[in-house]
């Protein structure tokens, strides 16, 4: 298939893998001290697992799967708020499909739908405006979710609703931002990451510059990365090249999509409608300053949080859940105490088991479960012996 197969060419993959092996050998990294590279974005995590990239890489490289899956990091309290909004009378609650299964403290949107709430899946926020026009006696609330990638489309929908004078449409805004989150990971004391694969689609909107601080202030290399398997391999190679040459730069592997300065009209729409929140709660990482956006006062009429009251309760994750440590690369997904047993894709306890883009769900679905559980037991035994 055109523009797809070119980026999945197994021969080019072999060439890149041998280049990667050559550099890691010259970097003198051993299996005991694997190099940790973080792919921030859940889309990258999905590609890595779908194509089996991790097993193709030398053991001296460890991929740490970051928090870049907006469905995964949504706190349970916010899901409860969604359910509360959806269960109001005369509300049509609209959402992207992958948010349906995220568990709240009592139920998911899927369960609320089964209990009678009018919840509908949409493919674009613009579909909500059509629904609002067709149902003038109902309020259509859109569950706005995602990083900077999806913000422009939400913002443009609000601007169009304003232009068309649609009054029965509002957003429940849960958009989150990448930069403060990467910063929070970099500031964490147990952080061991050596380089970053930056989210290509976020950069398509915001450009490369917002990530300069990773190289300038934290001295870590960063490569803006595309989503096909060859994109990922090439970006890993570019990171290794920087490490080998002792450089810390922001480089762009995804130049066919990402202009250095980003998407100006998209950014305009985004900043017209949204402003930074003081802080936003992340599942697995806790509260991070300025990591979410809310609607500006001028657009309060389209803000479901201002139009309707929501419970807005903070619900703590179960104590046994170690998502935060997995996100920072301190432990591997299968090393979590509840991985694959109490926490599995059907009954997820932690954020990372929720969506197929979450690191734990990816290991559970695509990794060899018995092998991983075996590894975990072995490690637990070793620790017992060591502490005894």
């Amino acid at each position: 298939m055109k523009y797809v197969d070119e980026f999945r060419d197994p021969d080019k993959a072999k060439m890149l893998i041998s280049e990667i092996i050559a550099i890691t050998e010259s970097l003198e990294i051993t299996e005991k001290h694997p190099l940790q590279l973080m792919e921030f974005c859940g889309g990258h995590t999905h590609t890595i697992f779908r194509y089996g990239i991790e097993q193709m890489l030398p053991k001296s490289i460890e991929l740490v799967h970051g928090p870049g899956c907006p469905v995964c990091v949504l706190p349970m309290g916010r899901v409860d708020d969604c359910v509360a909004l959806a269960e109001r009378p005369n509300v049509i609650f609209t959402t992207f499909g992958d948010a349906m299964r995220v568990p709240g403290s009592k139920k998911s949107l899927l369960q609320a739908k089964a209990d009678g709430a009018d919840i509908r899946m949409v493919y674009s926020p613009l579909d909500c405006l059509e629904l609002a026009k067709k149902n003038p006696d109902k309020e259509v609330i859109f569950f706005a979710l995602g990083f900077e990638t999806t913000m422009p489309s939400t913002a443009l929908t609000v601007l169009q609703a304003e232009q068309e004078g649609i009054k029965n449409f509002s957003l429940f805004c849960n958009h989150i931002t990448t930069v403060p989150t990467i910063k929070a990971i970099l500031d964490s004391p147990d952080m061991k990451i050596d380089g970053f694969l930056a989210p290509g689609h976020v950069c398509m909107v915001v450009g490369e510059r917002p990530f300069d601080f990773v190289a300038d202030n934290y001295n870590k290399p960063l490569v803006v990365t595309g989503f096909e398997p060859l994109d990922i391999l090439q970006s890993i190679w570019m990171l290794l090249k920087q490490l080998d040459e002792k450089r810390n730069d922001v480089e762009n592997q995804y130049a066919r999509i990402v202009p250095a300065e980003g998407n100006a009209p998209g950014m305009d729409a985004l900043s017209k409608v949204f402003e930074l929140r003081e802080f936003f709660e992340w599942r697995g990482l806790g509260s991070i300053d300025h990591s979410g956006v809310q609607m500006r006062k001028e657009y309060a009429g389209f803000d479901a949080e201002q139009k309707f009251s929501v419970p807005n309760l903070q619900i703590a994750d179960p104590k046994s859940c170690q998502c935060g440590e997995v996100l920072k690369g301190v432990i591997r997904p299968w090393e979590c105490k509840v991985f694959g047993t109490q926490c599995n894709p059907e009954t997820p306890m932690g954020a990372l088991m929720v969506s197929t883009e979450g690191a734990c769900a990816a290991y559970y679905n695509f990794g060899n479960l018995d092998e991983l559980l075996g590894k975990r037991e072995k490690k637990a035994k070793q620790q017992k012996v060591a502490s005894a």
Binding site: M1, A13, Y51, F366, G367
Partner: protein, 355 residues
Amino acid sequence: MSSVVANIRQRSGKCRAETITMAHGSGGKAMRDLIDDVFVTAFDNEELNKLEDQARFDLSALTNKGDLLAMTTDSYVVDPLFFPGGDIGKLAITGTVNDLAVGGAIPLYLTCAMIIEEGMLVDDLRRIAQSMRKTADEAGVKIVTGDTKVVPRGAADKLFINTAGIGVIAAGINIGTHRAQPGDVVLINGYVGDHGAAIVDARGEMALENTIETDCQPLNSLIQTMLEVCPDIHCMRDATRGGIATVLNEFAQGSNTCIRLDENAMPIRNEVRGMCEILGLDPLYLANEGKVVAIVPADAAEKTLAAMREHPAGLDSAIIAEVTDTPEATVILSTSFGGERIVDMLVGEQLPRIC
């Protein structure tokens, strides 16, 4: 009674209504007219036309054909009712016929129960009944008894159909998920994922440029051809909901073997691949309605494949995987990119109401 009145009373029914009302399920004349005019006219066979409360058949006619009686049932709730290449009626026949056929049975008789939502168009029902008859003829089965219920608006979505079927399995056939052995070879009779993709396409939400047709077809003739060439087929299932990923997992778990799938060997249409790319779906989990996955001993693989490719329902057949011993109860995909990954059972749903 005057002869005019008697004539009117006895006149066999013609359903003149345009839409179904609750009266069509009341047990009275409106229902009898609907059954006569729409269902009996379409299905028309000796066993059904007697209009008794049960169909009756000669036991010796069944025992002549084989050793074992096979029975199955399935309900059909697909939305929309009509889609490129098929409709709910065609599906209701092929689905039940195929469930019998993959056990090695020769399907013979089907039942048909209709649950109709008030307000449905009688013409749509007629089209669906005719499609069922046409498909039953293709599969060589008869619809011999049925039931009609009408429920108020909102209590069902337009039409739900249940069909049950019986068939006969010839002596010496022993197909079971526990029988896959290391060294065996896995075959499929053509492109995967067409039905699931066709339903997404037919719902019109994606406004795709291409029309993808369902693969909905009876498999019993193809399967009998396969059994003639290779009577010792070890495992066989039709890959419906959950796609071929689910069927292969059932084989791997049932027989405690590993199935190694080759992504490059998998027949997938470009249109289906393209749609999966856009929607983030995996064709391995997309539904099929005319695909059989069979595991045969290695020495029978080539001749079975050749026989399948000569049959109209198997022109694009391919060998897609082999059975090995470890890791047990696991399906592994060798990706076209050169990596490997586990293919697990589907968690949750990929698409609702596809069959």
